[in-house]
């Protein structure tokens, strides 16, 4: 696992810093949970045609290649075609 730095808004930092100081692994857990929740939310919007494939990738902040990888890795549909 690699170590990365991310910007944190001040209001969140006040709440999160003490927790992270006690348990640094919580950050990994939050990051994963947040990403998976966002992916699931956008996947739902994509499957119901509220957003397109390219918009899905844009909103998730990944390339179309990465989006295809993410969906395949989770055994999700890789198109929004019906059926």
């Amino acid at each position: 696992m690699s170590l990365i730095s991310i910007r944190m808004p001040e209001d969140l930092e006040e709440v999160l810093r003490p927790v992270l100081e006690r348990d640094p692994d919580k950050g990994t857990e939050w990051l994963r949970a947040g990403f998976e929740a966002r992916l699931a939310e956008l996947y739902q919007q994509w499957q119901t045609l509220r957003i397109s494939t390219a918009r899905f990738a844009e909103l998730l902040g990944v390339s179309p290649w990465e989006l295809a990888d993410l969906l395949r890795a989770r055994s999700l549909k890789t198109t929004n075609l019906p059926g």
């Binding site: 919007q45 045609l49 509220r50 957003i51 397109s52 494939t53 390219a54 918009r55 899905f56 990738a57 844009e58 390339s63 179309p64 290649w65 295809a68 549909k77 890789t78 198109t79 929004n80 075609l81 019906p82 059926g83």
Partner: protein
Amino acid sequence: MFVFDSSPLVASCQFTVGRRAVAEIALADADVRILPAVYAEVITRGGSRPDALIAAGLITAGYIRAVDATEVGEALEDLQHYQLGQGEQEALTLTTRLGNGAIMVTDDFLAWIVANRLGVSCQLFLDFVVGRATRGELPAMEAQHIVRAVSPRYPSGFVPHSLAMLRRLP
């Protein structure tokens, strides 16, 4: 002329027939164009991924022509009603402006519906392949190999239907 968005390009570079990428076979000698946003999504953001390098190689080899932003113009006003990506918006805009001479190729169902509402000719990648075989631009057997290769991507029905159309070709 065929205007591709990123969805068929990504798929056709990720599947292979033998040792060749589907795109290298399916797009050979077809007049395929991509827009600046699609170039950014697929080539620039793809970086050094092997599949993205295949897409980049198709441009270098002249299989795909990257269209200049000035040829696209401003995005169609009607598109603001939909949550489409930048590449899909540019592809729809250019195909609309080009009129009868251009066909958009997308595997995105929302973009496909919007294209139909705009009166733009639009095909799924499977139909692009079947169309090329129908016009004699691609051997039917090769087209069948391509359709089978990309089959994991499509919901049930699409692939057997495409294969049936290809089998009916003389």
